[in-house]
Amino acid sequence: MDSDDRLYGEKFIRELTENVQGVFFRGFFDKQYTILRIDGAIFELTGYTKEELISGKVISFLDIIHPEDRKWLRTKRQDQIDNRLPIINEYRIIGKQGRIRWVRETVSAQHDEIHGKIVLEGLVQDVTLNKTNAFMSNAFTSFQNAVNNGSIVSITDRKGIIIFVNENFCKVSKYGRQELVGKDHIIVNSAYHTKAFFADLWQTLLKGDIWRGQIRNKAKDGSIYWVDTVITPVMNDSGEVDQFLTISNLITEQKENEYALLESEALNRSVLKSLQTNIAILDETGLIVKVNENWTDLSSAAQVSNLLRTDVGINYFDVVNEAISKGDNYALTMKEGIRKVLNNEMDFFEMEYPCHVADKERWFLAHVSKFENDIKRIIISHFDISHRKYQEEVLRKSESRLMQAQRIATLGNWELNMQTNALYWSDENFEIYELDKSKVSATYDAMLSRIHPDDRPDLGTNYRAALENKTKFEHTHRLLFEDGRTKYVNQQCEFVYDEQGKPLQAFGTTQDITRQKLADQALEKQRLRYKNVVENISDGLIIDNKEGKVIFANQQFLDMVGIEESDLENFVFVDYVASEFKDVITDRHNRRMLGEEVSTIFQYAGVRKDGAKRWFEARVTKIMENGKIAGTQSAIRDITEEKASIDLLKASEAEKTKLLNELTKRYNELMQFNYIVSHNLRAPIANLLGLAEVFEMPSLEEDERQKIIGHIRFSIEKIDDLIQDLNIILAARSDINSKKELVDFEEIVHSVKQTLEKQISETNTHITTHIDFGADKIFSIKSYIKSSLYNLISNAIKYRSPDRVPTIDISIERDDNFYTIKVKDNGTGIDLQKYGKEVFGLYKRFHLTVEGKGLGLNMTKAQIEALGGSIDIVSAPDKGTTFIITIPVQQGE
């Protein structure tokens, strides 16, 4: 068809339908009924402009067709096109405001070769009014029927004011007719429905549509009645809604039932919701018909494809089968379980399965059961058992650790119920008895079969004795195996008794001590081998096992620590070690047993049983058995006396050192004396010699001779002075070992003053003495104090200032630790900056004007230091000098 033809065809239809009210359109018979052309009059019909509709710009033609009419309309049109039938259909279209209009289409179909589509062309006419009229005629028939067959009928005006009610209305509402007519229909409102409910009702009605619904009304006496209601708008001649016809049927009973059902369902729903369980209900085909909220939450949270990724409408078996195809064995088990429950082979089925998510291990328990009363429904629930699983895992791990510990310690445990004789053995117990857990059950006979026949009587006797005496049972015996091997086991058990003293239960352990036993035997073998040697050497010998228990000690050792052989049973080595050595010894033993190299020789203080402390030297070596450390062998020697003599030796060495020091000191003193003789004593003698020589010179005149004699006398006096000094020095030196005594300080000062009486009086020196309280007597060496004071006082006089009357202040003070003696003068003083270091040096003199030997201060320093004290000087030129002697106060003084 070319465009001319098309134009012609359109024109033809237009002309043909010139007087027909309607909207011409042209469009494709495609999915959206795409409009190619349409009259502007479509606006009146739909509220959409032609521009909005053409090409589906804003809305497609399909969209304005009432949803209920879309499906049948398409089918019908297709059928009409296919069969070349006239395309005439009546359907509803929905306008812009939601207004529904009935339209009739009269359309022809052409094939558009250009687009390869079918083109529809024709008219759409508004037939709403016709439809309503037709409806009305139907309604009238309904009305008549309703009135006749007991329905509740009312007619209201468009505002809801009642115009007419039938007999049934009055009967049900319990109002009289005159009470109703002229009133608002609201009179029977039960205030039950929401505003939205009525808004919807009115909107529908005012649009001209029929409303149908269930309304809860209230009768005059307040009783409630439910009606199933159809309200039909009645239009006047001009097509406006004028009145409403309401036809209702009473449904109270039905509604009540429904409510009861709803309530119970709500209850069930909330119960199901509150459960932490995820529940799904399946029909017999496996279709999920209902799930609770938890299930929904869980299945949406599940990230992997698994049994939980399910929702209503999904067939559970599909999910399960999918999982099976992926090799999920849990799914297979689940499927089988559900099938069995469905076929009444099982009442219920349970399965635990993992459903781990990224950060968490999750476990679920799936429970499958049937509805009661033969209803073909399956309930599947999933409980989150992750926590329980975790606990189980912890328990399992701790059990496995226990098992491992038992294996390491070759320690099995067993329990015997003494009422039922039921015996439980741990896995390790089976191991020890070398019985196969899967073949042999733990029985008394099984155990007995393994016990060495020779050991059975003793074991039985001991066991019964322990049971009777209500004591702990402990017994070591052998096991004998088919191949002739034996094992040593240590059995221990405790019994639980009831109030009557009847034994209820025994809890026991079995420990394989073969290795230990063999090791002990090896040690014992060693002992026997060397028995003779062992008992005849002077050292103590002990052998201890790996655990540090002494399993052998010779008589010498017993004597050393003062115990009897019978004490050896309960002997703990460290109990006989001084506390400061206990840890060291334990540590040494443990390290040695671990294979560490530990020094062989070790001295320690031991404590005998009688409490006496002795010194011991132990030489320890490892005992090896089959390449393994089995224990130690120690030779122990009492070194108390030896140590004492070493101490003595050390003490005598100290004495020697002291002596040597003394000798050195003496030597130094001798050198000092030598120095004095060679320098000081030699000087005046040399002068005498020289003077003697010149005295004989013939040229010498008489007055010169007199002078020489004067010099000779002076030199002789000098020699005398020196000899006196030396006497003092030697006297002091000889006193070096004198005993200290209580020295009266005042008496000493007095004596020194007497010695120096001549000098004091000649120089008119004033001497004051101050003795502090408690310092009048010093515990010291008298000659030292005296010579020191002599030197200091004579020095002070010697170095007096020519400008002042010489004064000397002598004082002594005492505090807790020291005596302080001060000798202060107002003499010439010494420039300490210049000579400080040399003040106490031997034969140092600092003055040209004064006779001096430089001996006194050096000697004083030596003596004060010999007393453990020190001497110090404070002085400045022309400012006098103060000597300060500090001597420590003797302990207990």
Binding site: S678, V694, K844, G852
Partner: protein
């Protein structure tokens, strides 16, 4: 025997007796033209320094005691050794000490010609003069 004589001799000794005795001996044997005596060696050192500065007469012989207060003989020798003196001044230790240590120590000084044990006698003076 030809008579030997020096121009200027320093006698350093804190002992006045020695100074006196040396004077007496010089009167007798006249071993020097002029004799300056010091009881303080520091004073003697200052004198030498002054002489060096002012180009005055330096001693041709120094007799010095060891054991003196303030500045002893050793210190004097140390100080004198440090001075830059154009001519060689012979120094003789002149001590009452018969201590071998002192004698050994004196030999370490280049300027010390000999160690003379007191008393000073005419013979010993002659020996000194011969050494010079």
């Amino acid at each position: 025997m030809e008579k030997i004589k020096v121009d200027l001799a320093y006698i350093i000794d804190d002992d006045e007796v020695i100074i006196y005795l040396t004077g007496l001996i010089n009167k007798d044997v006249e071993f020097c033209d002029k004799m300056l005596s010091f009881t303080d060696s520091g004073e003697a050192l200052t004198k030498i320094k002054t002489a060096l500065e002012l180009n005055l007469e330096l001693p041709s012989l120094i007799l010095i005691d060891l054991n003196m207060p303030v500045m002893n003989g050793w210190t004097f020798l140390d100080e004198l050794s440090k001075l830059k003196i154009g001519k060689d001044i012979p120094v003789f230790i002149f001590s009452s000490s018969i201590n071998q240590e002192d004698i050994n120590r004196s030999k370490k000084y280049k300027i010390v010609k000999d160690y003379i044990i007191k008393p000073l006698t005419v013979n010993k003076i002659n020996k000194i003069l011969r050494t010079i």
